[in-house]
């Protein structure tokens, strides 16, 4: 658990950070909260030449409102996301999921952007980003661009970020009014990764589910949008049987892994059960 030698820079602006990344070439690594990267370094599973620490860039932290979006700075700590009034009002699903990340120490060090850019399919937040149609704002040597969440997660631990690009902020379309949300996480100990997680946001009007957004954690090498479930719920009656029926479509398009914490068939079973529970909780059914 002794990391190899690594150079370290701590720029004060995104432009400087991009410059440092470009200069260092492909062996550079961006350091956000460090909650995944530092264990990897200590286990000597990676040997970056330079760490570019984003921790001193003030502009990357905090949450603001911009028209129909809530904009979360990539370096906003999980603990600040959970407590943010804008997030709680317009992106309750994000607050619900972030509150389940690891433990209080990790939540006070780890960042929203770091968790997304790490793109671990067992992480809780990528599924939320996908479910909420978030947009990733990245800055690189070629300037700024926006990547939809649906295109951001490319494969296991792989994103659409180009070399030299930094995830700066995440724009989340506001869900206002009749939306309510719940993240249902299934893990064995409080600090453990999700075996499966289901992020659900539901807009309910009287006895009807008008619209639903459902994202799945750890059901593929990337987060999965459960479109089949959403389609089955759109306009459906808000009752237990209907939700249970819709939840059976959770496994569509998934490719769950088999590993030490669960075999694929068990994960598929869990996805159905947890989708039913997440949607029911969000829609106040049962």
């Amino acid at each position: 658990m002794i990391p190899a030698r690594v150079e370290y820079v701590a720029p004060h602006s995104v432009t400087e950070a991009v410059g440092a990344l470009v200069e260092a070439g492909e062996d550079a690594k961006v350091l956000a909260g460090g909650q995944s990267l530092l264990p990897v370094l200590r286990l000597r599973m990676a040997y970056p030449s330079v760490l570019v620490d984003l921790g001193r860039i003030d502009g990357m932290r905090g949450v603001r409102e911009e028209g129909s979006s809530v904009v979360v700075g990539a370096m906003t700590r999980h603990s600040d996301v959970i407590d943010d009034p804008l997030v709680r009002r317009y992106a309750a699903l994000l607050a619900s999921a972030t509150a389940t990340v690891a433990d209080p120490q990790v939540r006070h060090r780890g960042t929203f952007g770091g968790a997304l850019a790490h793109a671990d399919p067992a992480g809780d937040l990528p599924a939320v980003a996908v479910a909420l149609d978030a947009e990733m704002v990245a800055e690189g040597p070629g300037g700024r661009r926006t990547i939809p969440a649906s295109e951001f997660f490319v494969d296991y631990l792989q994103t659409a970020l180009e070399p030299g690009e930094i995830l700066c902020e995440v724009r989340i379309p506001k869900l206002d009014g009749e939306w309510s949300a719940h993240y249902e996480k299934f893990n064995r100990t409080a600090q453990a990764w999700a075996i499966v997680g289901v992020a659900a946001a539901v807009r309910r009007s009287n006895g009807t589910i008008v619209e639903a957004r459902v994202g799945l954690t750890n059901m593929s090498s990337t987060p999965v949008r459960a479109r089949g479930v959403e389609a089955a719920l759109a306009g459906a009656s808000a009752d237990a049987a209907t939700v249970a029926d819709a939840a059976t479509r959770a496994v569509e398009g998934t490719n769950p892994p088999s590993d030490l914490s669960g075999q694929a068939d068990y994960r598929s079973h869990l996805a159905t059960v947890l989708t039913r529970r997440a949607v029911s909780r969000a829609a106040h059914i049962g």
Partner: protein, 798 residues
């Protein structure tokens, strides 16, 4: 979430023993003023690091350390072959049979690696970072050999061999019997047979292992600082293993952050550290990383238990037979071979029966060596017997508590000699069980269970019971001798009355989190009649505490505390003679109460023990020929083990949709005999429960077929935290031990031993209607789910 429960109140009764004193040790611990081995930095100190085999089994064809040696900052680098002559072989202290296969155990592998993590080379560098870099510059060529992972396959004809020279993977066969089991079985109406698997566990002490060695070349003296439970045993073993004269070795266990048996060993790194320090003539340090420790520190458990119980239809147990396969791992560490034997005597537990047959076969595998882990042999035994009693109850259609009651030793039958030959001095299973049932609301929970079954509730309720006992207070030396253990089981204590009336207590029991400083102070304060605050307890250094057998097996209080009791008696006796002399009274007329010597019939004629201490120091006026000191030493060798017991009840809710088991309530009533400090007892019980529950629900050292440890970091090896455990309801009954003057029985392992079967019994109880009769540990949600859907035990789930 665990609620914050009120701890036992500290009430001043005028007596220290029995007070819930807050621990003396804790202010230092929580203020960061401890001295861990890793905090020790000596002038000129170098750091060493070990290159470990990535393969479970391979021939080493070459080791080239030259590139590592050439790196700036590297002081030395050696292969196993370079140091083989100096390192010798690591000791094992328990040759359980004369025929036991005891292969050489080189601290650095020379020709062959036998588990993933076996060390093959060492580098010494000016700092830890350089040492870690240098490891990557070492090149080793391995010629892979087949891994030996499965215990039964290891014993099969034609299996690859862990130690080719031994010609077998069978380390030993140790049979034991009382009565005629075959006859008992023939007479039985019901025979229930089960196979239970004790998965391997990774002991995870808060403080990792570490060692610092400081040599003095000119005099040949050497000081070894080690995060160890056993400074005294380590000193002896280093002398015997490396050949350093014993008087030249000083071993210091500074503050040690937990061990649970994993620091009850003589490890390769300790021997390597000594050899390197001597060779290089400078201090060296090594501290393990957590993932390194998961491979290189001993593992616990690792047994396959075939158990059979024979009974009459009316529930009377006639006999029991146990056939064990015990995973030794690749080598025998200090007491590896003997661990299952500590359980051998415990299978009959609290139950009366006429026949018992036991066989243990030790098996070598290409995995990390196993050794003692909290409970050592007794949790395994307790699990198997408490599980099969439930299976017998199910077979007979009986309530599991009722069946236990029918067969257990009644309180009026003590002392009772079991079929395994142990004589239980005392106990009251009826009282502990009655108290536990009342606290648990057993009848109410059974009613709820029935209602949930009736309405097909997706969340089912199960109730598990464990009425355990254990043998602890290790151990009568004669018994250890009869079991071929290499040493005795006595413990030493010393008392020094200082001129100012303050007291130094020396104990040979080396504390590493248990609270000895507090408990020993309470005992000394009462026996000497001095204030609690005036007592200082010295331990963990072979120079200041020269004699001891250290801390394991719930022995410290039961053996070491009694030694202190004897030492205090000697001090008081001598002080009484001096007081009589000074008071010009007959010794027989001088009475001692709460620190004051007084003359019967002359209440004004009195001296405090502090005044006697000062007078002894001055030595102006002592009885003729009396030595001017008020010190004493005592060594106590127990005549019997002690036998704590208790009744643990667990209610588990099983979500049949996901397979998740959630403990809803946990009640335990332990009887650990007389209690010195109820707060410490409470802490031991809580920690023990957490570890026992962890075996039932969370922890497993999983290996793949190639002998790779799959759970090599805390991300994969799941340790529960407070967030995952219920609020425990704990209570006690007190049946004092009759085998020692303090009446104490030991509490260090009780919670761990008792709790595992209570949890699994509860889950199986919840799942009976689904045809489930067993579950492999840990009972993960996936295993439970598979058991529900396959009707099997879920064993193949992972």
């Amino acid at each position: 979430m665990t609620e914050l429960l009120a701890s036992p109140p500290d009430v001043d009764t005028g007596q220290e023993i029995g007070r819930a004193r807050r621990r003396k040790e804790d202010a230092k611990l929580v203020n960061g003023q401890t001295l861990w081995t890793d905090s020790i930095n000596l002038p000129g100190m170098a750091h060493f690091a070990l290159l470990r085999s990535p393969m479970a089994h391979a021939r080493i064809t070459s080791v080239d350390v030259s590139a590592a040696r050439a790196l700036p900052g590297v002081i030395a680098a050696f292969s196993g072959a370079d140091l083989a002559d100096q390192l010798g072989s690591l000791p094992t202290a328990w040759p359980v049979t004369p025929e036991m296969v005891s292969p050489p155990h080189p601290p650095l592998a020379v020709d062959e690696v036998r588990y993933a993590g076996d060390a093959v080379a060492v580098v010494v560098a000016r700092d830890r970072y350089t040492a870690a870099d240098a490891l990557e510059a070492i090149s080793v060529d391995y010629d892979p050999l087949p891994a030996v992972v499965d215990l039964e396959a290891a014993l099969a004809e034609g299996s690859p061999l862990v130690h080719a020279d031994a010609g077998t993977n069978r380390c030993y066969v140790w049979p034991f019997a009382g009565g005629d089991y075959a006859a008992a079985k023939a007479a039985a109406d019901v025979v229930v047979r089960r196979r239970f698997v004790q998965q391997r566990l990774l002991p995870t002490a808060m403080e990792p292992r570490a060692v610092v060695v400081d040599p003095v070349a000119a005099s040949g003296e050497i000081t070894v600082y080690s995060a160890t439970q056993i400074p005294h045993v380590l000193r002896l073993m280093l002398a015997l293993t490396i050949g350093i004269p014993e008087q030249k070795i000083r071993v210091i266990a500074p503050d040690v952050g937990g061990g649970f048996g994993s620091k009850l060993d003589v490890y390769a790194e300790e021997v390597i550290g000594v050899v390197l320090a001597q060779k290089l003539g400078r201090p060296v340090k090594w501290t393990e990383s957590r993932s390194e420790g998961y491979q290189a520190t001993i593992h616990g458990r690792g047994q396959i238990q075939d158990i059979e119980i024979a009974a009459r239809r009316d529930g009377t147990i006639l006999g029991m037979s146990v056939d064990l396969l015990a995973d030794m791992g690749a080598y025998l560490q200090l007491v590896t071979a003997g661990v299952p034997l500590l359980g051998a005597f415990m299978y009959p537990a609290i139950y009366k029966m006429d026949a018992y047959s036991f066989t243990c076969t030790g098996v070598f595998t290409t995995k990390t060596p196993t050794d003692a882990y909290r409970g050592a042999g007794r949790p395994e035994a307790t699990y198997a017997v408490e599980r099969i009693i439930d299976e017998l109850a199910h077979e007979l259609g009986r309530d599991p508590v009722d069946l236990r009651r029918q067969n257990w030793i009644r309180h009026e039958e003590f002392p009772y000699t079991t079929i395994a030959g142990l004589t239980y001095d005392s106990g009251n299973y009826e009282a502990a069980t009655a108290k536990a049932l009342a606290l648990f609301d057993y009848d109410g929970l059974r009613a709820e269970q029935a209602a949930r079954r009736d309405r097909n509730d997706p969340v089912q309720l199960g109730i598990g019971v464990s009425t355990f006992t254990e043998m602890c207070g290790l151990a009568p030396s004669r018994v250890l001798g009869s079991l071929s253990y290499g040493a005795g089981g006595w413990e030493a204590a010393g008392i020094r009355m200082l001129p100012t009336g303050k007291v130094e207590v020396v104990t040979g029991a080396s504390a590493h989190g248990q609270g000895h400083e507090t408990a020993w102070s309470q005992i000394a304060a009462d026996l000497l009649g001095v204030p609690f605050e005036d007592v200082e307890v010295i331990h963990g250094d072979t120079q200041s505490s020269p004699k001891g057998m250290d801390t394991y097996g719930s022995r410290s209080l039961v053996v070491g505390g009694v030694a202190l009791h004897l030492a205090a008696g000697k001090v008081v006796d001598k002080a009484r003679r001096i007081a009589a002399h000074l008071l010009e009274a007959s010794e027989d007329d001088v009475q001692f109460d709460k620190g004051v010597f007084s003359v019967k019939g002359s209440p004004e004629a009195k001296l405090t023990i502090q005044e006697v201490a000062l007078a002894t120091f001055a030595a102006h006026n002592l009885p003729d020929g009396m030595e001017p000191s008020l010190d004493s030493d005592a060594v106590y060798d127990p005549e019997n083990f002690s036998y704590p017991h208790g009744t643990h009840l667990c209610a588990v809710e099983v979500d049949t949709e996901t397979g998740r088991s959630t403990i809803r309530s946990y009640v335990c009533v332990d009887d650990v005999g007389s209690v010195i400090n109820p707060l410490i007892v409470e802490g031991q019980v809580h920690g023990g429960l957490a570890q026992g529950i962890a075996q039932a629900l969370y922890e497993e050292a999983a290996y793949d077929a190639d002998g790779n440890l799959l759970t090599g970091t805390m991300a994969d090896y799941l340790l529960p935290s407070a967030a995952d455990l219920p609020a425990f309801v704990t209570d006690r009954t007190e049946t004092p031990a009759t085998s020692n003057p303090l009446g104490v029985k030991g509490v260090g392992e009780a919670g761990t031993i008792a709790s595992t079967p209570a949890v699994i019994n509860a889950i199986v109880d919840a799942l009976r209607p689904f045809g489930v009769n067993d579950l492999a540990m840990p009972a993960t949600p996936e295993r439970v789910w598979r058991a529900l859907h396959g009707g099997a035990d879920g064993g193949g789930a992972r």
